[in-house]
Each structure stands twice: as C-alpha cells, then as structure tokens.
C-alpha cells in the first residue's frame, strides 16, 4: 500500500481519502445532530400549532406547512388556567436556594478540608458521641421508618469510629472527602420513603424547605468533588498574603478566594442548578399541591393528556409549550457554564 502513495495517482488517492473522511465525519455528525435536536424542534413547533394542525398529521415547517399561533402559549402563561407559572416559580426558587446552599457549604467544606489538618482520634470520639446521641433519639421517636434510619446511622458511625487508629489511613482529610462522595453512591430511591416519613413527622411535607434541604444534601458531594480541583490545592499566594495582612479565614474565603475562582464556582453552581431543576424523584414524593416543581407537574400533565386522547388536541400544544419552558433554562445554564469554563481555560489562572 505504501509504495502507491509516492506516485502521482497515489497522492491524488490520499487527498481523496482525506476529503472522503471529512465528508463522512460531517455526514455522521449531521445525522446525529438531527437525531438529537429533532425532538426539541418538534416540541417547539408543536407548541405553535393550533388544534386542527396537531390532529391532522405531521406538519414540519411553520409558515410553510401551517400558520403558527400563540394560542397554546397564551393559555399556559395565564395563571388562571393552569399552574405553570407557579410551578416554574417553585422550580426556580428551590433550584436557586438549593444551589446557593450547596455551593456555599461545599465550598467551605473544600476550603476546610484542604487548608486544615484534622486529627483522627478526636473525630472518632466525636463520632461515637454522635452515634450515642442518635441512638437516644431513635428511642424517643415512634415512627418505624425513622427508627430504622437512626439505627442505620448509629451502626454506620460505630463502624467508622471502629476504623480509627492513631496511625493508618483512618478518617483524615482524604477520608472525609471520600466519605462525602460515598453518600452519593447510595441510590436516592432507597432513602425516599425514610425522608418522606421524617418530613411528615416534622410537618415539612409539601414545603419548599424540605426540597431545598434534600437537594442540598444530595448534591453536596457533587459540588465538593467538582470544587476540589478548583481551589482544593494548597493555599494560593494571595490567601497567604491575606493571612499575613490580618484577614480571618472567613474573610479570606469570601473576599479573596471566591472572587478569584468565581468563574469555575459559577460553572459548578450552574451544573448543580441543572441537577435540581431536573430532579424528579424527591419532588414527586415530597411535594404535592403548593410546592410542586416542574418535572413532576409536567409528568402529571402528560398522564392527564394521554387519558384524554382523542379529546382536545389543543392540550398537546400546551404540553409542548410547558416542555419548552422546562428545557430552555437548562440550555441557558449549560451555555453560560460553557462560557465561564472557556474563559477560565483561555485566560488560564488569574494573576
């Protein structure tokens, strides 16, 4: 094969191969783009259709196949008719609050775990104390689910405490970080019922607070692990200078460190927001009438519409509009996050 490449026809053949592979790449990518983007496009177009167009077979292009109408959009945005604005507000509020809490606690956690050293024996003792405290709580509580939860927590803490020795890898900073990640390995489905029972006991069902707290707890490991490469290395020169200048650690964290890594932290925050926004499981169980967020509500609408198949085709347009409502913020967040990350890579580390 190789000797052919040296000849004139061989050169032509090589050029042809290059062009062919480029064309092939673009064709494959183009097809995949269509596969990925077409559902979005279809939903967007459907939301602009009036009733007759929906029921009478596929119409693909607005202004060409059919005349778009804003009926569906006007309908869903009117708070009298449906509850979309309310759900959107809930999703936004819970998402923002949870993201803020997550990034704050996660950031402080990374700061503490990477700039201070934690001693093992001390922690072990504390954990045993905590286990004892929880065990006592378990006796007081009456709900079975809660008691099981407490027992499991006590067992876990005792196990961790038993793993402590004065030497060896027991719970030092790295161990704490790993423990934080490990909580994410647990499938959320497993803890939904216990959390439901807990919320019921505390009267927190169908409140925004319970969702905010749950999302914070489940996204905290992700935030921590995304933030470790951002500022998890040893203290920067600026932090040391600030220490010498007389700033406390909290001051350093908020006035020196965070502004310096704002872009990366914002990117992490946006990713966490997307996770909260799309979260379905806990929202479906823990919220009902007043605090339901978008994902379970849209699911609910879909079931309702399916039950009414053959009825008002207008509702498909309304559903499509709702779906667009759900998707657009996520796309915006991703675009923003990409811009932040790209700027960081472009400028490299700040001065």
């Amino acid at each position: 094969m190789m000797q052919h490449l040296a000849t004139a026809s061989g050169v032509r053949f090589r050029k042809m191969r290059v062009i062919l592979s480029d064309v092939l790449t673009y064709v494959v990518l183009g097809l995949w783009t269509i596969v990925c983007l077409f559902p979005l496009y279809w939903v967007a177009v459907t939301s602009l259709k009036g009733e007759p167009e929906i029921m009478q077979g596929p119409f693909f292009l607005p202004f060409v196949d059919f005349t778009p109408s804003g009926i569906a959009w006007r309908y869903i945005l009117d708070p009298v008719n449906d509850q979309l604005p309310m759900r959107f507000f809930n999703s936004t509020l819970i998402g923002l609050a949870s993201t803020l809490l997550t990034v704050l606690i996660g950031g402080l956690a990374v700061y503490g775990l990477t700039r201070f050293r934690y001693t093992v024996a001390w922690m072990g003792f504390l954990l045993i104390l905590l286990a004892v405290a929880l065990a006592s709580c378990a006796f007081v509580v009456s709900a079975v689910g809660l008691q099981v939860f407490f027992a499991a927590a006590v067992g876990l803490l005792l196990l961790m405490a038993a793993g402590f020795k004065d030497h060896g890898p027991a719970l030092r900073n790295g161990g704490i970080l790993v423990a934080m990640l490990a909580t994410r390995i647990l499938p959320p489905v497993v803890v939904v019922l216990p959390i439901y029972t807990m919320a019921q006991h505390m009267g927190l069902l169908d409140t925004r607070l319970v969702l905010i707290l749950t999302y914070t707890a489940s996204n905290l490991p992700i935030a921590v692990w995304l933030l470790v490469p951002v500022f998890g290395k040893t203290a920067t020169d600026q932090e040391e200078a600030a220490q010498l200048d007389g700033a406390s650690h909290i001051e350093i964290f908020f006035t020196i460190l965070l502004p310096m890594v704002a872009a990366s932290v914002s990117a992490v925050g946006l990713l966490v927001f997307i996770l909260c926004w799309n979260e379905y499981l806990f929202a479906a169980y823990l919220s009902s009438t007043s605090t339901m967020t978008l994902p379970p509500w849209v699911m609910g609408q879909m079931s309702i519409k399916e039950a009414q198949v053959g009825g008002d085709g207008q509702e498909w347009a309304q559903l499509s509009a709702a779906i667009i409502f759900m998707v657009v913020p996520v796309l915006a967040c991703i675009a923003l996050a990409q811009r932040f990350l790209r700027r960081t890579f472009l400028w490299g580390r700040l001065l």
């Binding site: 040391e240 200078a241 220490q243 010498l244 001065l351």
Partner: protein, 356 residues
C-alpha cells in the same frame, strides 16, 4: 528610624523543621538586630524559604521558638505577629484595584476610611505609584506590580518586613534599580528586614549581615565583607564570589601547602593530610613557571573587557586568574601562579572548615 518607631529584634531559637522524614532545617540559631537588613542566602533546598515562612507563621516549626521583640510568637497566628511579607509572585489580589490592594491590611483591621485613604496615598507615593491607584494588577507591568506589593507591605508600618526573593521575577536592569530603591526605603523606615535570596549579588549589596544556609545548616553569619574576605568554610568560600574561588587539593605540612603541582607558603600551620587551598582569582597573578608557587599550563584566555580571565590547568585542577586586559598567552604554554599569602585560605577537606 525616620518615623520614630524603633526596630525590633528577631530571634530564631533552636528552630528545627522536618517534613515527615526529611529534615529541612537543622537547629537554626539566629538573631537579627533591630533595624537590620539581614539576608538569608542559599541555593534551592537550603531551607531559607522555610525559615522565612516559619518566621511569618505560615509554617510551624517542628521544634524551637521564634521571638519578635521579646514576644514568643511561635504559636501565634501570622496576623498577630505584626509582620508583613512581600512574596516572590507578589500575591496581588487580581480583583481589587491597586488602592484596594494597598489598603487591604488596613481594611481588615477596621481602620476608618479617611485614615485608610491617607495611609494608602502615602505608601503609594513612597513607591511612586500615585498615578496608578485605580488600575488593576493585570494592567500593570512587572515592576509596577512589585511596587504595589511593597506598598502593601509598608502601609501598616509593621515591626518586621519579610521578603521572599521579590526581585527574581524582574529583568536585570529593573532589578538593579529596585535593589537601590529597596535599600534606600529600608534605611529610611528603619524596619527590621529579613530578605531571602539565592542571588549573591543581592546579598552582598543589600545586606548589613548575610546568613548563608546550606541544606538546613547555617554556614556563616557575618557582614558581606567578612563573608567575602574571611569565609568560615569551603562552601561559603566557593558560593560567594564570581568567578568562584579557586581550590587546589593537597596536604598541609607545617606552614606549607603541598600538592603535585603546588608548593605554597601559608600563614596557618598544622598537619592535615587532606587539605584544600583556596584563593580568589583577583588575588593572584600569572607568572613564569619558575616563579610560581603553582605550576601549570595555560588552558584558555577570555577577554572580559576591563580584565582578562586566564584559565590554567594544574594537574586535575582548573584555576582562574584575573589578569590585566592586555594579557596574552598561547594555550598549552607553561605558566605559574603567584600570590601574596595574606589572601590564601586553607580548609580541612574532611569537614570543610577553615584552618585558622
């Protein structure tokens, strides 16, 4: 002393530092006089930066005490030690303006805004930055950034200045200029300063006394002149001076240093089987083979401009001699080295110590 506040004494008392099994500082005992400019000089890994960081509080010593004034600050946080530090990378806050950078130490101490502005303007004027107070660090040149770091250090008038190779990121011309500025500023303010560097020229020009560190051990603490003319051991002798001191290996018998190619009368006596003779290139001259205390042959001659550097090969040793600028010789020509004995140094090779 111009601002009326007297300098404070700084002491390292038996400071040791180990990182796990690695011993970085071996029992450092050092006292810095009030208002003194002390330079910690050494190669990379000598422990000089570690010593500085222990003094600043950014590292804790494994053993020993640090005293500032008469306070034992060993277990005190950096911000309570009344020190300020200029970092090699300047450590400017990129999201704050020059004025905010300089004013930060005052802001965290809750100094009222009016006093803060006066102090900032005063500090900026001292380093000629008054026109740039509203700029951000990314808009400044290297020299300007370094002056911001300096202004930030002096705005608070601390008891001690610490400087960690602040000039090493500047180009040579600016470095010379800033050296003079630094020296003048320190003399005006009279604040005790500890300066870390690996550059012997900075050490010689800036310091009142130099502390040379090598592998965590203090080699010599003396004035630059003393270190140059009276080195305590072989390491110091070869570290200071450019071109470095010549060394010839041989033996010391009575008052004569003997080797295969050398027979030199020295001013110190003793019997040392493995001795090293040291002499500086400017303290010797190239003479005819018969007249020289060391015999060898010319290896190369290099015209520097105002003098010629002659390299001679004597046995396995290469010797450098500073000769007149019109000196000429052909490589391979036999020659000898002669010197006056007052600038000869004899070292014991087993421990590197100077024989006195």
């Amino acid at each position: 002393m111009a601002n009326g506040k007297p300098g404070v004494q700084v002491s390292f008392d038996k400071i040791q530092k180990s990182f796990g099994a690695v011993r970085v500082l071996e029992e450092l005992n050092l006292q810095v006089e009030p208002g003194e400019f002390l330079v910690l000089l050494g190669a990379s890994g000598s422990g000089k930066t570690t010593a500085l960081r222990i003094l600043s509080g950014l590292e804790t010593a494994t053993a020993g005490r640090v005293l500032i004034g008469d306070r034992d600050v060993t277990s005190i946080l950096p911000k309570y030690r009344d020190i300020s530090m200029v970092f090699q990378s300047y450590a400017l806050y990129p999201h704050k303006t020059v004025a905010e950078n300089i004013g930060f130490p005052l802001k965290v101490r809750k100094i009222p805004l009016a006093d803060r502005e006066v102090a900032v303007r005063d500090a900026a004027a001292q380093v000629q930055l008054d026109q740039l107070l509203h700029r951000y660090p990314r808009e400044l040149s290297g020299g300007q950034r370094q002056r911001v770091a300096l202004a930030r250090a002096i705005v608070r008038r601390p008891s001690v200045f610490l400087m960690d190779e602040p000039l090493s990121n500047l180009d040579a011309k600016l470095r010379g200029h800033m050296r003079a500025e630094l020296k003048h500023m320190q003399q005006t303010l009279g604040i005790t300063t500890i300066y870390v560097t690996h550059d012997q020229i900075e050490a010689m020009t800036l310091a009142r006394r130099v502390a040379i560190l090598e592998r965590g051990v203090l080699q010599q603490l003396a004035t630059p002149a003393e270190i140059y003319n009276n080195p305590a051991n072989l390491f110091v002798a070869q570290f200071i001076g450019s071109p470095p001191m010549n060394v010839v290996r041989g033996a010391l018998e009575g008052k004569t240093f003997l080797s295969n190619d050398a027979k030199v009368t020295v001013s110190v006596g003793g019997r040392i089987a493995k001795a090293v003779l040291g002499f500086r290139p400017e303290d010797c001259s190239v003479v005819a083979t018969a007249k020289g205390a060391i015999r060898g042959e010319i290896y190369t001659t290099e015209l520097i401009g105002d003098h010629t550097l002659v390299t001679l090969k004597a046995g396995s040793d290469m010797l450098t001699v500073k000769a007149a600028k019109d000196f000429t010789a052909t490589p391979g020509e036999k020659a000898g080295v002669a010197f006056n004995s007052s600038h000869l140094y004899v070292f014991d090779e087993s421990n590197g110590q100077r024989v006195r």
